[in-house]
Symmetry: C2
């Protein structure tokens, strides 16, 4: 048994196809076929059920894949140990970012990060919290930026910043004349929300429910992006809440519709999260330092009340 064979097993298990897996491994398909056969001979058990299309794992196969993932991840960690010892910061680093953080945070730190750590090749993907957790656990992501706390067993969190919610209230809305809004002003029924799957939506629902026994179904309107929420709001469909960093990018006439909360303002906690095995910790530290350094200049709120991002 070799580590190479185990990575081949993982690739096939992932793509359910020898040919595609071979491409990902940068070898030809016959190479995979023969190596898998050798491993199956050595263990004297079938890992894949080739009679099914697409190919499936056998029962033992599934267990072997789990174990193989361990071994391959742990073996990759040896280079990380060496890098860490040398203080080398570089290599490929795959990071996931939730949709409501991506467009505002990424432009703020990316340039600075690349400049400071030119040897790190960041691969950035926009993903929901749910997908992020799956991919951190299976090793497809090295880290992610998401709203916390998540209370996910194998995942560690390190807070980057607290981002207050800001009310966006169009003209003619019942709260328009109130300069500073309060949590108790919120009515879930006239609130525009992102569609299901966004933790920013869940946070707002938690916020509303925290003060009144509001039901959490039958929303008036939902949208996939915050930009759309603002447009819908402008058309008089209701108010909405925006993450603070988003409000910095609005043009001046829209900024007039922003209404901050009285302190303590509700806020989300945004963290860099990573697997408890702490692979590539030196890059995670580097990201943390760059981002929290940059945010320190952008968000100056003292007193916030943290809202859970989890659907309840």
């Amino acid at each position: 048994m070799t580590i190479t064979q185990l990575t081949y097993v993982l690739a096939i298990a992932e793509h359910k196809n020898f040919t595609k897996a071979a491409e990902k491994c940068f070898v030809t398909q016959p190479t995979l076929s023969t190596q898998i056969q050798k491993l199956e001979d050595e263990l004297d058990v079938l890992i894949f059920d080739r009679s099914k299309k697409p190919i499936e794992l056998t029962e033992v196969g599934r267990k072997i894949v789990n174990q193989a993932r361990n071994i391959v991840n742990e073996s990759e960690r040896i280079q990380d140990i060496v890098d860490q010892q040398k203080g080398f910061i570089g290599g490929e680093f795959r990071i996931g970012i939730i949709p409501t953080v991506m467009p505002t945070l990424l432009p703020m730190f990316l340039k600075a990060f690349i400049k400071k750590y030119p040897k790190v090749k960041l691969k950035i993907e926009e993903l929901t919290t749910e997908d992020i957790i799956i991919r951190i656990n299976d090793g497809h992501l090295d880290a992610a930026i998401a709203a916390t706390p998540l209370e996910s067993e194998n995942i560690k969190e390190r807070v980057l910043y607290y981002e207050p919610f800001v009310g966006y209230i169009p003209e003619h809305h019942r709260l328009y004349d109130k300069k500073l809004i309060e949590i108790s002003d919120l009515e879930i029924d006239d609130m525009l929300l992102l569609e299901d799957g966004h933790c920013f939506r869940d946070g707002i629902i938690n916020l509303c429910k925290a003060f009144k026994n509001q039901t959490d179904d039958n929303f008036q309107l939902e949208s996939g992006s915050i930009e759309t929420l603002i447009k819908l709001s402008n058309e008089g469909m209701g108010m909405t809440l925006l993450p603070y960093l988003h409000t910095l990018e609005l043009n001046d006439n829209l900024k007039g519709n922003l209404h901050h909360f009285v302190e303590p303002s509700p806020a989300r906690e945004v963290s860099i999260i990573y697997h408890k095995s702490e692979l590539k910790m030196q890059i995670i530290n580097a990201l943390h330092d760059v981002i929290s350094g940059i945010i320190r200049g952008a968000i100056a709120f003292q007193n916030v009340k943290i809202i859970s991002p989890l659907a309840k």
Copy 2:
């Protein structure tokens, strides 16, 4: 990096000598030299400091060895997964047994076990509890039989039996005429004990201390084996306590010196212990079943009071 290279690293780290490590790996010394160099080149770091005699690990080397142990253990587990799936019970199995259990328990179950599971090659070693814990953690032992509870973080315990302590009291001793002794009769100062390192000794010390504030230093006499304890006792050096299974083997005139405790008799808990990763669980189960089955016929006490084997 290959699993083979990692096992070579482990062998050298263990023997601190390329030549001996090569023998243990069943390859020649040049093979080790070249493979280690390849790995060191790939990682671009020195794992061993060859300037020291005997060879030493570098700082990164130590971390790499720890990680390598993980990987090698986990990769061996793949075959275990397959075996478990197939219900195959066989292969090499290394078990440690504490000295005060070894001579009585081993002859009772060994024959029956080998007969029932002929494909398992047991490698049995007599070790103190302390050594057992080290070796279970570093993968040199698959399981062990020891007095419990141990409260050791990475080790699981499964009770085999409760073995009462029996007083061995020579003629002319102040307790000789008392048929059933009590815990409160014990005086640590006229008790013969095993030398330091035996958990059976620690158990007795705990037992004495539980009832009186007896000091635990300045024992009169200590010995390395229970046989010697009995002889010393016969010569009038004091009384001693024996594990119940030992008393079954005494010749009849010595048996007259045995004094049981009034119930609940103090007893030690004897368990099969193993690493929490539960490698080779099917063999551990087999051992548990054979041993506890055999003991059930030999020990019939109902009511016991368990004494901790840990030095306090």
